[in-house]
């Protein structure tokens, strides 16, 4: 009884704290989106609703080109790393235990070491082999850190996989290839798609590593945003950031739903 009454005020404080933290997490995002519709050019005073900044965005050649670059890089990165990462996840799930550790360590390293070190290493490497920086080097860099994410997500999916289904298919006379494409793949597909969506978002959003390996002609959207930011805060930046935010949130929520539904 006593502990109940003691806990009650504590519970209220904790709830209040949690809501304050949620406010802290979401207020900046909401404010950014609101500002992108604000007519005021320089101040934070609300001067009325406008779509002017979005209209300007669509006419901004530099931004459009960077969006195109980003989508291209993210698409290729996603395709390549999803295939390689899924293969690695399958190998880790099925392979003999003793051979797992090296591959597992190799997959964790790109996620764990500071991004800036990876960027520095890649730009030094490309310089050493006289590889011209451009969209190609950006894709390579993105694939390097994306494989790990796909492998981790797909492997989690495989952990909850019922192997007897595969055995049943084999017993019924299916070849290993048939079993893979007709039983295994459909069952782990939600995990693969979720991994692909996550990697697509990470690729679209990446600034640190890309800034090292992009070179002159390969400006991606985050690089474009960064260079605009360094010049100064403009409503156009708000608009492009708001769009990118909404776009990535939609992708993430989709991925999250796929993972939960199949789990």
């Amino acid at each position: 009884m006593k502990s109940e009454t003691c806990l009650a005020p504590g519970r209220v404080w904790l709830a209040a704290h949690a809501w304050l933290v949620y406010l802290f997490l979401y207020a900046p995002i909401v404010i950014l989106i609101l500002f992108s519709f604000n007519r005021a050019k320089q101040t934070a005073v609300w001067e009325g609703f406008t779509l002017e900044w979005y209209a300007k965005l669509v006419r901004n050649e530099l931004i459009l080109r960077s969006v195109k670059n980003s989508l291209l890089v993210a698409a290729i990165t996603t395709a390549v790393s999803t295939v390689i990462g899924t293969m690695a996840a399958l190998a880790l799930d099925r392979g003999p235990a003793r051979s797992k550790l090296p591959t597992q360590t190799l997959l964790y390293l790109p996620v764990i070491i500071p991004e800036i070190v990876l960027g520095a290493a890649l730009v030094t490497f490309f310089g050493a082999v006289h590889w011209r920086l451009g969209l190609g080097t950006v894709v390579i860099a993105h694939v390097v850190f994306s494989i790990s994410y796909v492998a981790i997500v797909v492997r989690a999916r495989l952990a909850g996989f019922d192997r007897s289904l595969e055995e049943a298919a084999m017993d019924l006379g299916a070849t290993p290839v048939q079993t893979f494409f007709r039983v295994t793949l459909p069952l782990i597909l939600p995990g693969i798609v979720a991994g692909a969506l996550l990697v697509f978002t990470i690729s679209i959003d990446d600034y640190v590593i890309t800034s090292f390996v992009a070179g002159v002609g390969a400006t991606t959207l985050p690089l474009q945003i960064y260079s605009m930011l360094k010049v100064g805060v403009t409503p156009e930046v708000n608009a492009v950031c708001a769009l990118l935010l909404v776009f990535t949130v939609v992708l993430i929520v989709t991925a999250e739903r796929l993972l939960r539904r199949s789990g």
Binding site: I147, C241, E256
Partner: protein
């Protein structure tokens, strides 16, 4: 029979991991190796690498360690210490702010709301770090939201300097890294056997004492994981300090980036990169050791 199947498996597994080893071997391990070698070289007049004419002389004179020696210069050592300090304060703040949130979601929130509350912590983490940092520029800058509101309310006569200082850097870092602290602590709290808390209360322990002597020790694996996960990215970041810190608060990340761009001194940048990586790997090894020693059955 058994042996045959495992042999078969071995064969099917190798082609599956080959692409991973190929890509990460060529574009990850090899570049790291090259940077390591470059960190012992010297920079030429135009930012290129100076060829080493006499290898033994380079070694025996200790010239190969020049970059590492230079990084011990008080100027750079100061940057290193400040980076460690900022990462430490960020980690401490994240723990102070994040633990109660994880506690609330895991133990106090209604069960059917848990998933939503957790997802709300995770979603911002997946959106662009750059944009979330920029959002704080909108809030903190001289013509920003906070100053506008305070001025309009008549609470201040002139705008406060909220941006381009250490305060802004800390706000940005805590904002960016908080989910890394909440998630592992939540996982640890979720696994906590609640009957232990009840037992402690039944035996007459006041709530505070139960918290410090039962809950905290039992969730220590989650706390340690959170500390590692927040500390490492805070140490190596450079977006937050670049955008919110201004030119005065250079951290290790900015220093490395600078060497590869403006200063065009790859060998020196490479040496600092490796020092940063050594600190990070040392932390990870200590963490693995802690986890193996029985720091709970956690999983990342």
């Amino acid at each position: 029979m058994n042996r045959l199947t495992t042999n078969n498996r071995n064969k099917t597994v190798w082609p599956l991991v080959m692409p991973t080893w190929l890509v990460l071997g060529v574009f990850f391990l090899l570049p790291l190796g090259i940077v390591f070698v470059v960190s012992f070289a010297q920079r030429g007049a135009y930012g290129e690498l100076k060829p080493v004419t006499d290898f033994w002389q380079h070694l025996s004179s200790g010239e190969f360690l020049a970059n590492y020696g230079r990084s011990l210069d008080p100027l750079y050592l100061g940057i290193g210490w400040r980076s460690l300090w900022i990462a430490t304060v960020t980690t401490g703040l994240c723990l102070l702010i994040g633990y109660p949130v994880a506690y609330y979601i895991a133990l106090l929130a209604r069960p059917h709301r848990k998933n939503l509350l957790l997802a709300l912590v995770v979603v911002p983490f997946w959106t662009s770090f750059l944009i979330r940092t920029y959002a704080w520029m909108l809030i903190l800058r001289t013509e920003g939201l906070v100053n506008t509101l305070l001025l309009q309310a008549g609470l201040i006569g002139e705008p406060l300097d909220l941006l381009y200082n250490e305060f802004a850097v800390l706000v940005g870092l805590v904002y960016g890294e908080l989910p890394f602290m909440v998630l592992p602590i939540y996982a640890a709290l979720e696994k906590l056997d609640r009957s232990l808390l009840e037992a402690s209360t039944d035996l007459g322990a006041p709530p505070w004492s139960t918290f410090w002597r039962v809950t905290v020790p039992l969730t220590m694996p989650g706390i340690v994981a959170g500390v590692v996960l927040v500390f490492i990215p805070s140490l190596g970041q450079f977006i937050v300090s670049d955008l919110l810190g201004g030119s005065k608060s250079i951290l290790v990340g900015n220093l490395i980036q600078n060497q590869f761009t403006v200063a065009r001194n790859k060998p020196f940048g490479a040496a600092i990169s490796f020092e940063l990586m050594a600190v990070v790997l040392a932390m990870l090894l200590a963490y693995t050791w802690y986890a193996k020693r029985g720091g709970g059955n956690r999983e990342i």
